[in-house]
Homo-oligomer: 376 residues x 2
């Protein structure tokens, strides 16, 4: 994959880069909105581009495999066409969802057996068929099939799990290297570092993953319940090993503070359901801190949702109105909060990139993390 480092920060490992895909360029650090079942929940595709300024979105292999299924996606000519998204697309491998959503899951060397959370039907994901499914989906970046170690997990089991992920990775990479994209555009492959919260396991895993020499590298198994300090420690360990000349993707993380701290440790790519999921529940992230819009204190606050926000919803609607919509379970409430939060996340990345390019990221980050966590 074509990745170019553009700038690095002076006092941290933060970096700014450019990834080229056949569906366009990304400037990193980048936040990728999660489009689980082929839709970033409650957001129109034109809004993703024009309002949230998303550069790339995610799809979930587990969800898409179950519904609409690979047959429909293949007939459509891939997920880009099915959902009419012309930009870059990344799919996860389904491993995390099998272990968090599916029923009757059973891990065997061959792969993971599970029953669909939708209709109870039985399925088997293997490293090979998960690559095949992602070929059918046609994402620009596809992920290795891994076991996302739960937290807490003792070191022996964490090691066992990591070794399985490594064996699965070899099978994934084989399948990837011996298969072709279906729709004429290049697909890139990222393996995933595991190892729970154990520095020595993370080292072993990062070295193994780096040795695969794939298009980019991901860090998995974090933000699953461990203290933030453990997460940052693991990222630091891993990023000392993962090659600088390839993008680093921290999966499923996190709060705005988590993301800024991880950028300072050299992470380039992020995804998280937080801006949309928490938004639908009334939590708004702003540059001044966090708002729970359901609180009664907002009921007669007729100021804009976020006077410094850059989404159209920020000035279009007031806090009192958004609170009313949330209290009334009106769909528009979730739509507004999702747009606001997604745009806040992408705005935060733009600000981070600008500070990195000027070499002043670290001090800006230290100031921001104090504000971003405040409860307003």
């Amino acid at each position: 994959m074509d990745f170019k480092l553009l700038n690095t920060d002076k006092n941290s490992k933060a970096r700014c880069g450019r990834i080229k895909t056949d569906h366009g360029e990304l400037i990193t650090p980048v936040f990728m909105p999660v489009g689980t079942a082929g839709t970033v929940k409650a957001v129109h595709q034109p809004e993703l581009i024009n309002d949230t300024k998303a550069q790339i979105i995610l799809g979930n292999t587990y969800h898409l495999y179950l519904r609409p299924g690979t047959e429909i996606i293949k007939l459509a000519g891939g997920l880009h066409k099915f959902i009419n998204w012309k930009g870059p697309l990344l799919t996860d491998s389904g491993g995390y969802q099998v272990f968090s959503l599916a029923a009757n899951r059973k891990l065997i060397e061959e792969g993971a057996k599970f029953s669909s959370h939708i209709d109870g039907s039985k399925h088997l994901f293997t490293p090979e068929n998960v690559v095949d499914i992602q070929r059918v989906i046609g994402a620009d970046i596809i992920m290795a099939f891994d076991e996302c170690t739960p937290y807490p997990c003792d070191q022996k089991n964490a090691e066992k799990s990591m070794m399985l992920t490594h064996r699965w990775l070899e099978r994934c990479a084989n399948r990837f290297n011996n298969s072709e994209p279906l729709y004429g555009h290049r697909q890139n492959f990222f393996p995933i570092v595991q190892g729970s919260v154990y520095n020595d396991l993370r080292k072993v895993s990062a070295e193994y993953i780096a040795s695969m020499d794939m298009d980019g590298n991901a860090i998995g198994g974090l933000s699953v319940g461990e203290p933030a300090e453990d997460m940052y420690s693991m990222i630091e360990t891993v990023n000392n090993i993962l090659p600088e000349e390839k993008p680093r993707y921290l999966m499923g993380v996190g709060t705005p503070v988590n993301i800024l701290e991880s950028i300072s440790l050299g992470v380039d790519m992020f995804d998280c359901v937080m801006p949309t999921r928490n938004g639908r529940n009334g939590m708004l992230f702003t540059s001044k801190g966090i708002i729970n819009i359901k609180n009664q204190k907002w009921q007669d606050d007729f100021s804009p949702i976020d006077s410094e926000g850059t989404s159209f919803v920020d000035s279009q609607y007031t806090k009192a109105y958004l609170r009313h919509l949330m209290q009334s379970n009106e769909r528009l409430g979730g739509q507004i909060a999702s747009l606001h939060n997604l745009r806040f996340y992408t705005w935060l990345m733009e600000e981070a990139r600008e500070r990195i390019s000027r070499g002043v990221f670290d001090s800006w980050k230290n100031k921001m993390v104090k504000q971003l966590g405040v409860r307003l």
Copy 2:
């Protein structure tokens, strides 16, 4: 109210007119999207204007009175400001909702007692306080408090109910004439014809309502379960009596066919939850007929939602994708269907107006009603 008849059809009673309000003009026949609790469900205010081309929207007094309540609306400076809608606004009187949604409702001469469907709290709507509430909401057109007769209803009870509605009307009109708008813009008052499916009652009611000489006139108590032929017969009877020089509003109606037939009988204004409510359940209205997008037949139909549709969603998304969203209970599905259906309704009104202005409405209407009801 400033109402001007612009054109009348040659072979029907269809007419095209212009209503001026302090929040802008409406060209009739007009369809008014329903914004129950201060939001047209799942649709952004800018989308209402730019995409659905709505000229006016509705609010429900019952819902707004319960949540957010008149205190908040008054502090906001009225509903226009609270929801940031700059165009014309109409509020119903809450009568219909008291009888269809509230619990423990009891009709007395003074008004209607009921318990909130939200928290069980007890309330009393009277002709006077319903006018007061609508003054606080600040709609451009406000409605009389009526009893919407259920269907079926024997003639004796229908007459009793109608007489109560007439007595309530007098009290409403008194309050309206002896109170002032709160926000500096003119509010117009429409009384409502009742009388169930009885021609002689409808005549009595229409004559009484016409004699009140208010800003416009409404027809209520229809589309509540009676055969369509009965509804059309009542509209014909009533419209022979209601003055031509005032707008006529048929409340809560209906399907595209119902609306075209009613336009041909001289109705000018319509509202209905059908485009949004049925849309959220997967029913799409198109110029070729009705689509149930949940049907399996659409699962691999990658053609646009409506190749002749004029909403951005019609060409942005395919039938197969919309079906997938609906099957997956994804919010975007309801958003897309609501936009499509609302724009279809307003487009149908535009087409009707164009045919009326050319004096060819009747033949066009007869052709359209054959198509519009087809199940695709």
